[in-house]
């Protein structure tokens, strides 16, 4: 082994030349992320689902709500009288299953995005305060987290939605408000080490108030793990939303939801297997895509993070 190179003493003042494009931090991170094939595959799946949701009216072969009892429970690949093919078959009301899956992605992504934003912001705020101030505040907030975690999530969600009534708004609020714990714990852990760093001490010494220190100096440094948690949590929220819809406590029919389609299909399991199979595959593929992308993001940005 050769001896380590002796480091040249750094000159006192350096006017740094603009960094070449390829050396910038985020460019290198993206380059590293792209080298992970599973993460790229995950991202492609996610992009496909997002495009399907956005372009649903354009790409959907049929109206997802159009019923035709004469064409009910037709198997995948069935061709109707006008020669139009139903690639994934039709359901018990003669509605095209592919069209309903495409439109169903809208509810899944909308609830996923909105609930993750609510719980992410809530958890970020709680984590920042708990980690930065420590002591009694920290103790109180972490006990609150224990209380939240003690409840079987789905049971609490259905109890609350059962009382408040089912609506898109209620579902988003209930999932959003009760999912903050992961974010708070991860952010708190980061803040515990960030608050001991020199730039934070410097900011305090210069007279910055707590609020400013938290938002300008601590938050940006705790953002990366937060982003990883948010990505992975999106997958969990999508499963929760479809579970609620499956139990009949989600967005109500006739709006197509993946969970609701599965619940319909369960009744026809012995005669028409495709009703329950395809919506479940849609959930599986979406969640798998998000998980793979999130895993890659974690391994690239913050490999020590345990989520």
């Amino acid at each position: 082994m050769s001896p380590p190179p002796v480091e040249a003493a750094a000159p006192r003042v350096v006017l740094a030349p603009p960094r070449p494009w390829a050396e910038r931090e985020w460019v290198r991170l993206v380059a590293r992320l792209v080298r992970r094939r599973t993460a790229v595959f995950g991202l492609l799946v996610v992009v496909t689902v997002v495009l399907a949701a956005l372009l649903a009216p354009v790409i959907s072969p049929f109206d997802p709500l159009a019923q035709d009892i004469s064409q009910r429970l037709k198997e995948p690949g069935w061709q109707d009288a006008q020669g139009r093919v139903h690639p994934l078959g039709t359901d018990h009301l003669g509605r095209d299953i592919l069209a309903r899956i495409i439109y169903g992605s809208r509810i899944a992504l909308l609830v996923g995005l909105a609930a993750v934003l609510i719980s992410g912001i809530l958890g970020m705020a709680i984590g920042l305060v708990a980690g930065y101030f420590g002591g009694r505040v920290d103790d109180a907030l972490m006990r609150l987290a224990d209380v939240q975690l003690a409840f079987p999530f789905i049971l609490l969600a259905i109890a609350v939605i059962g009382v408040l009534g089912t609506s898109l708004r209620n579902i988003i609020i209930v999932i959003g408000v009760s999912s903050w714990v992961v974010y708070a714990r991860v952010v708190r852990g980061e803040v515990l080490s960030i608050r001991e760093r020199e730039f934070v001490h410097a900011a305090i010494a210069l007279g910055s108030r707590d609020g400013r220190v938290l938002v300008r100096h601590v938050l940006p440094n705790a953002f990366t793990p937060w982003l990883v948690v948010a990505t992975l949590d999106m997958a969990r929220v999508i499963v929760i939303e479809s579970a609620l819809s499956f139990l009949g406590l989600g967005v109500q029919p006739p709006t197509p939801t993946w969970g609701g389609m599965l619940a319909d299909g369960r009744v026809y399991l012995s005669t028409a297997w495709w009703l329950a199979t395809f919506p479940g595959l849609a959930i599986l593929v979406t969640v798998l895509g998000i998980n793979l992308f999130g895993d890659g993001l974690r391994d690239t940005l913050d490999p020590r993070l345990k989520v």
Binding site: A150, P152, A159, L247, L262, V287
Partner: protein, 305 residues
């Protein structure tokens, strides 16, 4: 160690108080519990009389302490539908839920820990890839879909296993697999990464260098040191299993607490809902306290803290 356990015990009791408060709140979410508890066709006089009789006109703090007094004695009022004490109904169903959750956990631990260890030891071989792909799919698969697909294949098509109800071992197979797969996937991935981390440590190299054979290196030096996060996740997964039982029991018509609470929510039978939520949440808190007790045996460093 005593101080540590005592502190954890006090924390757990504090959390149980928090749990009771949230359960109390469920009934007061809409502002008027009388409207929730009485049938929709109740007259204004009925409502007023009911509020007075149940004490819903008292300050909320008084109501909460009254609720708490009942809760510690297991008294959540009578089921509106069955006319029995709500707690009695829930306790009756509890063994079925424990049976299912226990079977799910047994499957998960029995499959996941060996799979995770083999994956880590035979890293980047076919065994590792297969177990990783299965774990990824298991984590992405919604419980209710897995249950339905298992029923489709093994009950509807092959006719080998019953699709609903509780009975002998044969009734337990499909629900237990359904409930346990997600947990299996999670523990597999955690065991693999934990073992990989530990097997890269200096003391493992030292053990190998002084001539310790591969099996004791993996099982004694490796697994023991990787066991703390595994025990933690097993404790947390108890919560996942108790919560997952809500869906699994609904699919397989399993007569447990999960199915009872879903039915109670649809029947607007709130005393039963409160009793069930309270009991499941308390179980989780108690299990996690016990997990902490186990820690102190696994990791002497905690004992001397």
């Amino acid at each position: 160690m005593k101080a540590y356990l005592l502190r954890r015990l006090l924390q757990s009791i504090l959390v149980l108080f928090g749990v009771s408060f949230v359960v109390f709140l469920i009934l007061h979410l809409t502002g008027d519990p009388a409207l929730l508890l009485l049938p929709p066709d109740a007259t204004a006089e009925d409502l007023a009389r009911f509020r007075q009789a149940m004490g819903f006109n008292d300050p909320w703090i008084v109501q909460y302490f009254r609720f708490l007094k009942g809760a510690v004695r297991g008294d959540f009022g009578e089921s509106l539908r069955h006319g029995e004490p709500a707690m009695h109904l829930v306790l009756e169903r509890l063994p079925a839920t424990f049976e299912l959750a226990g079977a799910g956990l047994a499957i998960a631990v029995a499959l996941a820990i060996p799979a995770g260890i083999v994956s880590a030891v035979r890293r980047n071989t076919a065994v590792d890839y297969v177990s990783t792909v299965v774990a990824l799919l298991g984590q992405a698969m919604p419980t209710f879909w897995l249950g339905i697909m298992l029923i489709l294949v093994f009950s509807v098509r092959l006719g080998w296993l019953p699709s609903s109800g509780r009975g002998g071992l044969i009734h337990l197979i499909l629900p237990a697999i359904t409930l346990g797969l997600f947990t299996t996937a999670r523990i597999t991935r955690l065991t693999r990464s934990g073992m990989l981390e530990v097997l890269g440590q200096d003391y493992i190299r030292t053990a190998r260098a002084k001539g310790v054979g591969e099996p004791p290196v993996v099982w004694k030096h490796g697994l023991r040191n990787a066991s703390i996060p595994i025990v933690t996740i097993v404790g947390i997964e108890m919560g996942t299993l108790l919560g997952g039982s809500v869906i699994t029991e609904t699919i397989f018509a399993w007569p447990g607490v999960g199915r009872l609470s879903v039915q109670a929510i649809f029947n607007r039978d709130y005393p039963v809902v409160q009793a069930a939520v309270f009991l499941l949440a308390s179980t989780f808190v108690i299990v996690n306290f016990l997990v902490d007790v186990v820690y102190t045996y696994l990791d002497p460093r905690i004992r001397f803290r």
